[in-house]
Assembly symmetry: C2
């Protein structure tokens, strides 16, 4: 396996993951954890998925606070492969800086940006979709991968497909008519039924220079600053804080879609954003040994009598008797008990703790 020539993977490893508290913490966010029982962290699983496509052409952009943990989990990365952001500025500055660094290394570089904390269970489909996306990116397109929706999810944005493109090497490609916001259930149901919408998983494949050109249309100063930092990393300290905090979707993808500059490769990836413990429950599945129990991690420390639950134990024994449909997340200093349908509200606990000044628990 030789990878896709000229493709660089960019992994923005950020986000707080407060809906996955108390496993995910400020100082140890979601991507550093094994939330699916795979035996490796989401970040490491992301690397494993990308490495065959790009060999050693990988950049991870993460907060300076997480740089050491990222290097520990990915010891094969060279020093230059991890970029530390002094402060969180959302996805555009992170991916934009990676683009500015890459265009200096290789003016023809195509970058594929893939979150550090998502799951893909169909890696072959992923590889095929990325290969098509690279063909389109070489023609100057901003390309996204549109996930075949498996349910009328209200937690994701959607991509409305436009006309089919007729490009050799990218047989699945469509124009993107529009990125649309998270819909309500009724709208989502319509989206899924009509077949013209895909989930927006925030995956972008684009020439490094193309991305910066698109960004320059609305944020020329940001592009200048990113190129200065790429040329002289010592300027990070003074220029980074001035960059606008903005997502790549708003800064580039939506305006480019309106201008007819965005293509989409639809794909069935078995994708999940591991957004909350309901998602984790689906991904992990019920234990063979413990009927009704979904164990995040080892199940040795769980005793279940007539119970159904998703359980993460931290080495303490967890005994359940006659409880149904719970989520029980036990850590050294905090225990969460909720239900899958309330999983989105977990971030409220982090808000309460922050308001109480107990940030050591967040």
């Amino acid at each position: 396996m030789t990878g896709i020539a000229g493709l660089w993977a960019v992994i923005p490893a950020g986000g707080s993951g407060t809906r996955l508290w108390p496993i995910s913490r400020r100082h140890s966010p979601k991507f550093l954890h094994d939330l699916t029982g795979s035996g490796q962290s989401l970040l490491r699983a992301t690397w494993d998925r990308l490495q065959p496509l790009v060999e050693d052409r990988i950049l991870v952009v993460t907060g300076v606070a997480h740089e050491e943990a990222v290097r520990r989990q990915l010891p094969m990365l060279g020093y230059d492969a991890v970029i530390g952001e002094p402060s969180p500025r959302d996805s555009m500055p992170a991916i934009g800086l990676a683009a500015a660094i890459l265009e200096r290394r290789d003016p023809e570089a195509v970058l594929g940006s893939f979150a550090a904390d998502h799951v893909i269970t169909e890696p072959e489909n992923f590889r095929r979709a990325v290969a098509e996306a690279v063909v389109l990116a070489r023609r100057g397109e901003l390309v996204t991968i549109g996930i075949e929706p498996t349910e009328p999810a209200t937690g994701f944005g959607y991509i409305r497909l436009g006309g089919r493109l007729d490009v050799v090497g990218a047989p699945s490609a469509h124009r993107v008519d529009e990125f649309v916001e998270k819909p309500d259930l009724q709208t989502a149901t319509r989206y899924v039924e009509c077949g013209e919408y895909r989930w927006n998983a925030g995956m972008f494949v684009v020439g490094a220079t193309t991305l910066l050109e698109l960004l320059a249309q609305n944020h020329p100063e940001m592009v200048d600053h990113l190129r200065i930092i790429a040329g002289d990393p010592l300027r990070m300290r003074d220029l980074w804080p001035s960059l606008q905090k903005i997502a790549i979707d708003h800064a580039v993808a939506e305006p480019a879609a309106a201008a007819g500059r965005v293509a989409v490769v639809p794909a069935s990836l078995g994708w999940d954003d591991v957004g909350d413990f309901a998602s984790v429950t689906r991904l992990v599945g019920v234990s063979d040994d413990l009927p009704g129990i979904t164990a995040i991690g080892p199940a040795d420390d769980i005793i279940s009598i007539d119970s159904t639950a998703t359980v993460a134990s931290s080495g303490r024994l967890v005994a359940l008797i006659g409880v149904e449909d719970l989520v029980v997340i036990d850590t050294q200093d905090a225990l969460l008990i909720t239900r899958p349908e309330r999983a989105q509200e977990v971030k409220r606990v982090v808000e309460v703790l922050t308001a109480q000044g107990r940030i050591e628990l967040t």
Copy 2:
């Protein structure tokens, strides 16, 4: 307050309390814990209740493994006031040995035996009932205190009242017709409705020598051995293991009742045997600060969003979101989650752990 002359309190502090796991453990049983949020252990609360009645005339009979903990919780007890049983032999040998020790100290001694791990919320009623019982005991009766039932409980044995006794100083007293086993719900309902039954709380007031005489009718050898041990504590080691493991109810109370030798003083004591976490939930009551939450111990470490639960935290934060009617007992090495109506089954966890050989958790 001078106490009731000649009355000795005997506190059998035994029992494993496995229905209150993981707070109650083999090495730290129920009576050593504050399960009601009173700020003191059940044992200490028992001492507090009895001390005004008997001053320093108290004997605690407990397993040798718990002797040190008992002395630590009751430092005011003299060395001779704590009797260590080399092995558990149920209540008859424990109370019988106390009787044999007491008759040597005071041939007229009346003993009142009261469990170390029950709750009484009406101490004045308790004092009055004991005073009546002592009057009857001095006349040679074996006296029990019959608790006014407040619900058709199926977890207790019942006492069927016989004719009213006509004794000066014991105006409430009745003969006991019969001790009856734990009934089913229908039977219990009938018992409560007809008004002729009281709960058997296992409280006995009796002359020390009278008790041993009653015991000698069916277990003469046990009485001999108990008197030998009382005279020479060094004989404990060889004689104690030979004693029959039997409850005072079967060894003495039931046969004596059949012979018309048992009296009962009915009383409303606000009594509870603190038998399981449903009972604890009733006793502790809902927190003022946290709607819907019954906190066993401090509530500072509990965050509740739309939840109802009984929660014991061990210093770890406990966050609940959208859960109802749970019992959450968190300790350093074990976490229990159940529902009040399943509280009786908690002992099954201890059985599973024992079967798994994980006795360090029991």
